[in-house]
């Protein structure tokens, strides 16, 4: 059950990051695609799952399956315990002060929508302003746009420079007494930029605005500490941190959550219901209507155990090494333009090849067994800002290797040969 990589790490001493051992924890990495070994470089879209996560999900269904918080019977108790234990793992993973500040959701998208619907609708009114950045994922644009439309509020956008870094001096200028909220991506999925969120949160707080941080791409790659950041909300998706799809978490400061109206009505979120009056349940259950993704939550807990055992700092160091290597190797390719060259960057290599559409790059690489994403990466404003319809994107995970970067480079030379 214990992840192979971790066992081997202990044998070799804490500093060795044995990527080959890590890879053995992920069964899918040994499969072939189109007759070639899989080179999986689409980790920003979703990550692969280690055996311990697959086992946790399947053990739940084999041995523990039942509904939670509802039964007095044995299985319900076991399932409830496992599900709530996973919540505490999420709490520790983010270093949240209280377990009741962790709300299970389907993923980053739902978490943002929850905050917009519950906090946003009660605090943002006509003429108010919400600040987001030019490098947000659509899931941190559209819900705010919908809110602004509904309320007659205004969306303000922090501009980005040619390297893909937010322009902080412009950010500061966006604030005024009507600024009611700031919602910011921690790490950009399209460019890899790591935003200086701590500094940006301080700025927002000086102006009295709470901040949501979209950590969908940060949680898998960097150590996250919500107390150090002092963010008001933090969101991430389980499937991008080596856990199952359909589960994620919202962290919110209890001081804000406790006054927020429920997001959905239904079972579990209430204390008592009569046709005259319903009393809502305590945190976090008030925001968790209906039977949740129990297996997902348990699987997420296993994923967090895995990542924690490997060590978020060591994962970040490994991926940084690959990023530096990949940046160097890709820069040698004639006609290749890297989109996103921020000084603080996480494992994303977004690029275009002169005269070759990213879609064609993706198809040819696919036949080499190399999985990259091509398109606008749900960040159309970013594409527009950099004047490209789309990019090809290789995004790194904790199991990627230098050899895989070499395979990507060889694949790109093949692409160029096809079109020469």
């Amino acid at each position: 059950m214990s992840p192979l990589a971790v066992v081997e790490k202990d044998r070799r001493g804490p500093s060795a990051y044995d990527v080959e051992a890590v890879r053995r924890d992920f069964p899918i990495l040994s499969r072939m695609v189109h007759g070639k070994p899989l080179v999986y470089l689409d980790n920003a879209a979703t990550t692969q799952k280690p055996q311990c996560v697959i086992d946790a999900v399947s053990r739940y269904y084999r041995e523990e399956n039942s509904n939670i918080h509802r039964g007095v019977h044995y299985l319900s108790e076991v399932a409830t315990e496992a599900y709530e234990a996973a919540r505490i793992k999420v709490q520790r993973f983010l270093n949240a002060p209280l377990f009741c500040e962790i709300i299970y959701v389907r993923g980053a998208t739902e978490a943002i929508n929850l905050v917009v619907s519950s906090y946003g609708r009660t605090h943002v009114g006509a003429g108010d302003e919400v600040i987001i950045s030019a490098i947000e994922h659509h899931s941190n644009i559209v819900p705010w746009q919908m809110l602004c439309e509904e309320k007659g509020a205004r969306l303000r956008v922090i501009p980005v420079n040619d390297r893909g870094e937010l322009m902080l001096e412009e950010y500061e200028k966006l604030f005024n007494p009507r600024t009611k909220f700031v919602s910011l991506v921690h790490v950009s999925n399209a460019l890899g930029t790591v935003n200086p969120v701590k500094e940006m949160i301080d700025t927002a707080h000086r102006h009295g605005a709470p901040v949501l941080v979209d950590g969908a791409q940060a949680a898998p790659h960097l150590p996250v500490d919500v107390q150090e950041l002092d963010c008001d909300f933090y969101v991430f998706s389980g499937h991008k941190v080596y856990g199952p799809t359909g589960v994620g978490a919202l962290y919110g400061k209890a001081s804000l959550l406790k006054d927020m109206p429920p997001y959905m009505g239904g079972g579990d979120m209430i204390r008592s219901v009569s046709f005259e009056k319903t009393t809502y349940n305590d945190l976090p259950h008030r925001f968790e209507a209906g039977t949740p993704n129990i297996a997902g939550g348990i699987g997420l807990g296993a994923a967090i155990d895995y990542v924690t055992a490997l060590g978020p700092e060591r994962i970040a160091a490994h991926e940084h090494d690959l990023l530096v290597y990949g940046t160097e190797r890709l820069s040698e390719i004639p006609g290749l333009r890297l989109i996103g060259t921020a000084r603080e960057k996480a494992g994303v290599l977004s690029f275009t090849l002169e005269g070759i559409h990213p879609h064609d790059i993706g198809t040819i690489l696919d036949r080499e067994g190399i999985a990259v994403r091509t398109g606008h990466h749900c960040a159309m404003p970013v594409m527009e800002r950099f004047g490209v319809p789309a990019t090809a994107r290789a995004s790194l995970g904790l199991y990627n290797t230098r050899q895989e970067i070499d395979a990507l480079v060889a694949g790109l030379h093949r692409v160029i040969r096809v079109f020469s």
Partner: protein, 151 residues
Amino acid sequence: MSGDLRELYQEVILDHSKRPRNFGALPQSNRRAEGYNPLCGDRITVYMLVEDGVVAAVAFEGAGCAICTASASMMTQALVGKTEAEVEGLFRGFHALVTEETALNADTSKLGKLSVFAGVREFPIRVKCATLPWHTMRAALENQAAPVTTE
């Protein structure tokens, strides 16, 4: 290159993608439509001059992948001199060629050079790239105002 890639990126297709024919606006056109494939960002405009039910000229502009650009380029060549009914027949034939193993109710025999796109079938995700110009052209014929999207 593997066999099906070679089928997809045939010489003719690569040639048309690098040097698209009838590329640019058509000032005298009387039909026009825009097409967009949000998945990959392909975006094209098709211009047509239709006189007495016959296609007198076709052109296109926009940015697309090799398959989309080549498909648009070869389409513009195939349509000139065709009646609207013949255009519809070609549309159906082309659609059948890139989507179905055996074309049902569609005549692929008149496709001529367009048959090089048969390789697209092996790449289901790329079918929309090949058909976007054709859908856009059809919208232009109907003088549809809203842009066509493949979604």
